[in-house]
């Protein structure tokens, strides 16, 4: 379970998170929508401990992320994150990209790591690309590789930060299909996205962020069907 309690975060004088409360249960899929600068991506990097927070608490299965005593590296192997930019390691083949962290962080043997990597790459449809270098693949393929790379750590939670935003329109579908597949398999996920159709389909709940505040959170039918917050109404009118 991910518990976010009254989290505040500023970059300089700009307050990007103004007291966020959100609890995500095991197996739940929560999507976060909102305009740019609404703080939704920042929240994900805070959950993973990549960004410090100013006040409040984030707990993952009871472990407080920003406590000094928390082993962040251990925690991160439990919480996978995939970014807008796919960030392939360009000097490693696709297989090596996925094998690296299981070997070095989880301490798997070469053989075991390879098994895991091949399994995850096949899962996202890249079983034929094992010995290829990332720059020889499309953005969509590289993004799927990044997803497999995170999955190879056997995370219990996955965070997706606008993973289709940097892709050419015709490549968005293949990556969203991968996310749909994960959702249907019961993975606990928080997805920041601009794909409304996708959010409507896969989410258990959808959260709308506006200027650092979670203005509304509801199941997709309610949030899209009968939005209450005036900013959300404007946002949905503009994106439709």
């Amino acid at each position: 379970m991910i518990e976010i309690e009254n989290v505040r975060k500023s970059f300089g004088t700009l307050e990007v998170l103004k007291g966020i409360d959100l609890t995500v249960k095991k197996g739940e899929v929560v999507t976060v929508i909102g305009g740019s600068g609404s703080g939704k991506s920042t929240l994900l990097t805070c959950i993973n401990g990549l960004e410090p927070i100013d006040s409040g608490r984030i707990k993952i299965d009871g472990t407080e992320v920003h406590a000094k005593s928390t082993d962040l590296n251990k925690l991160r192997s439990k919480v996978g994150i995939v970014f807008q930019q796919w960030n392939a390691f360009p000097h490693l083949t696709v297989l090596e990209n996925v094998m690296l962290a299981p070997r070095k962080v989880l301490g798997l043997s070469k053989q075991a790591a390879e098994e895991v990597a091949v399994k995850q790459l096949t899962h996202v449809g890249l079983g034929e690309k094992l010995s290829v270098y990332p720059n020889r693949m499309s953005g969509g393929q590289q993004q799927r590789m990044a997803i497999a790379r995170a999955l190879a750590m056997s995370p219990e939670y996955m965070l997706f930060d606008e993973v289709t935003s940097a892709l050419d329109p015709q490549l968005v579908g293949e990556v969203l299909d991968t996310l749909r597949m994960l959702a249907s398999e019961g993975m606990t996920m928080i997805c920041v996205t601009h794909e409304m159709k996708f959010a409507r389909e896969v989410s258990d709940r959808v959260a709308f962020f506006h200027k650092g505040v979670m203005a509304e959170i509801a199941p997709p039918e309610a949030l899209f069907g009968a939005p209450k917050d005036p900013e959300l109404q404007k946002f949905l009118a503009a994106t439709h």
């Binding site: 390691f89 995170a150 750590m153």
Partner: protein, 217 residues
């Protein structure tokens, strides 16, 4: 065509000089590179409190002519009664000189690795050290290699200046022969050829590595 007084033993004398050039270069480049990597990482990682003084000292080593550094260091070690021979003094000065340049090369290489790539590796649970070792080091090496090869070749030629401390390296050996045999052009031609023979494999090694790594990027 040639009617030279140069004998085999003179050539052996030149070869000894070349060996000295190689020895000074090898020691200085090795020590200088290791120090350069250390200082480069500190430059990127440390707070300004540490990195500003370090940068200032390294800037001094980069700006003062090497010859002056050698002469001053030699005078200093004798005043301080360190008992360093000319070889040690030369290696210490050249190492610091190399380190000063290498630091900037390393810093540039590390900075060339996108912050997002490093964030991705840290997000997988890799430690700072693992990120450095498996992601940053290989990528930064590719970027830094051409400059590093240039630095190595430069240091090898600059090492001729250690003759002022009395070391008989390749250039000094040639000078001695020129004075004795009065055949400056021929001897300098041979001397230049030997410098080239030493440099060429290093330059080619750089070219080879660049080629080997390029299809991946």
């Amino acid at each position: 065509m040639f009617n030279t007084a140069l004998t085999w033993s003179d050539l052996a004398f030149l070869a000894q000089g070349a060996a000295m050039t190689l020895a000074v270069t090898a020691v200085s480049v090795t020590a200088g590179t290791l120090l350069g990597i250390l200082f480069g990482v500190i430059r990127v990682q440390a707070s300004t409190y540490w990195s500003v003084p370090l940068t200032f000292v390294l800037d001094v080593f980069r700006s003062v002519p090497l010859l002056i550094q050698l002469v001053l260091a030699n005078a200093f070690q004798s005043i301080a009664k360190l008992g360093w021979g000319p070889f040690t003094t030369s290696c210490v000065v050249l190492s610091l000189y190399t380190a000063a340049y290498c630091t900037e090369i390393v810093r540039g290489g590390i900075s060339s690795v996108p912050a997002t790539t490093r964030r991705a590796s840290r997000s997988l649970g890799m430690t700072w050290w693992q990120d450095m070792r498996y992601i940053v080091a290989p990528l930064a090496t590719r970027v830094s290699l051409p400059s590093w090869i240039g630095l190595t070749l430069g240091v090898m030629k600059d090492s001729a200046l250690v003759l002022w401390l009395g070391l008989i390296e390749l250039l000094r050996a040639s000078q001695i022969l020129v004075t004795r045999l009065q055949e400056p052009l021929f001897i300098l031609l041979i001397c230049g050829a030997i410098y080239f023979l030493i440099s060429f494999p290093i330059a080619r090694l750089g070219g080879y590595l660049e080629k080997r790594w390029s299809p991946n990027d």
